[in-house]
Amino acid sequence: MNTLVTNKAPADTRIVVAMSGGVDSSVTAALLAEQGYDVVGVTLQLYDHGAAVSRKGACCAGQDIADAGRVAESIGIPHYVLNYESRFREEVIDVFADAYVRGETPIPCVLCNQTVKFRDLLGVAHDLGADALATGHYIRRVETEGGVELHRAADESKDQSYFLFATTGEQLDYLRFPLGELTKDETRKLASRFDLPVAAKPDSQDICFVPQGRYADVVLKIRPDAAKAGDIVDLDGNVLGQHDGIIHYTIGQRRGLHLDAAEEALYVIRIDPDAKQVIVGPREALAITTVHLNNVNWLGGDITVGKVIECEVKVRSMRPPVVASVRLTGDGAATVDLAAAEHGVAPGQACVFYDGERVLGGGWIQREKSAIEAA
């Protein structure tokens, strides 16, 4: 039975699978092939893998491209590699670096999904006559009478909805996420059952193009002049110490400040890229109750500007959702009032809206003043 595309036999249904060479997308391809679909595997070559060839646990490096090819061979599907290095550099890596230079904390995985994956690869899938593009993301696509909805993954610990909030309705129509109902454990078992060459491969952890999580190295390579030293100041502007570049700091950070004088625990409250200042203060100063967003993607159906939606929101990927009211203010902007203060809300991160399991959309967090500062 065709569970992915209605009114068509699986054999007549072409599905392009985005294969990273990891376990999840490999199982996705194997599952669909087993179900009899006309599966086409495509792997994106996203950055010069020379420096990252031997890395474990991140997607899309040279070894991973080879792994994707081996998996495709083992399940008997055609496999292609698309070289998107230059556009990935321009639209993801450079944007990532520029965000740090502006004192923000970017999420390159969202940009990658928005550009090379769900715009370019999706376009290629269309051109190849595919009925859908499937990925190994842990998220659910739910068809209802009112339209297609995006829901959190069944496995809460693997849920990737935070990184997929920017998926548009049009993209969602065409996308399929066969792993959304599975736990990681079940996926691993399937990988073993399919005897995939990557069955024992470790999960990817960090940002694929950042070796060993050292993002500052990547930023400095691209924007060498971003490492200008400056002052670490308190909320009143008193200089407490020096830093060697704002790119090394993120909102809510506590460790690595190296302030001898500090008696109380100090956190990074704000980053001022123009003054090259890192502003620190007590934890209370991190508290934020209002968040302003731009480039909001709304997946919750018809809505009018100004209407207040009571829902839950996540302001960081690893935070649990909290109660909030969201008001779209036009031009893709929104204001989010949190029922209880959140700590460590960083510009450049996403604020994602949920109605229970359902993802209502989200937007990009803009620079704020904390409650204490504003007072």
Binding site: V40, Q45, P78, Y80, N83, Y84, V124, D127, L128, G129
Partner: protein, 369 residues
Amino acid sequence: MTSRSYLDFNATAPTRPEVIDAVAEAMREGGNASSVHADGRAARARVEKARQHVATLVGADATGVIFTGSGTESNNQALRCDNIERIIVSAVEHESVLQARPDAVVCPVTPEGLVDLDALARLLEESEKSTMVSIMLANNETGIVQPVAEATQLAHNAGALFHCDAVQAAGKIPVDMKALGVDSMALSAHKIGGPQGVGALICKTPSMMPRFVHGGGQESGLRAGTENVPGIVGYGVAAECALAGLNDFGALANLRDALEEHVLAIEPSAVIFGKGLDRLPNTSKFATKGLTSEVQVMGLDLDGASISAGSACSAGRVETPYVLAAMGIPDEIGLCAVRISLGWTTTPADIDGFIAGWQKLHDRKLGKS
């Protein structure tokens, strides 16, 4: 399931059945061509017979034929010729020439894709250094046949040597090394239905060449190591077949032209490179704005036709292939180019298969015209 249309002969040609038989026979016979006993002498005789066939294919003397492992090796080696201080290459040479001598002076091509002979003459005049010019006989991507005889004349008048990469031309069009006048020529077996892993470097004066591989005295002492007798035998048979089949190969131009007419009928804005020029009869390179090379190669593969975005050696890039860039082709066209190359197995049904698949891709992306 219909049969596939293999239209990528410039990447590699399907091995001819006569070649497969001859290779199998040579493997059964065995023997080391350097041994003095009867088995060795028999192997030697097979190698020398093949050498003669390869020489005959391009009108050369068998004594100048050095068997190598590939056309790439042959090109690399030719450019290592003794006492050469300066190399001039055309902008559209194969990677095995360009990468072998990154220090080479690059001679431009005209927008049509022909080596600019005026520019070559100027480059030759510019320096007193001992110079070698390397220009291919036919381009692997466009099939455009270069004015090698004229270029060789210019080079020789200036006291320079001339190497010619004839990997794509030999066995596809008549080639006469003596008439061309070149000093050395690179060839490859698998482009004409021979085995992969065998090539030849033909030198007017082999003694000018430095040793490629040190050891025993094989291949005039230049390339040590026991000869790949089965491969060489297969190459000899492929050369013999190709020479006998040159007229048939020339007739592939009819199929190629029909394919191009079909493409233009479907998409009048398609750009065909080298049309109207002296081209290999089997090669068509064309671009359709809006239909990227990668989508065409993938889509046709899924539909059962094997074509190429460019040289198989440089596939996987996203910039305009350098051969087209050298002709001044902008990215919007260059990134949408594909190469179709026909050969001894090609039938009208292969062309029909390609056109059916291509029309589907075209109509899906660009709409019916």
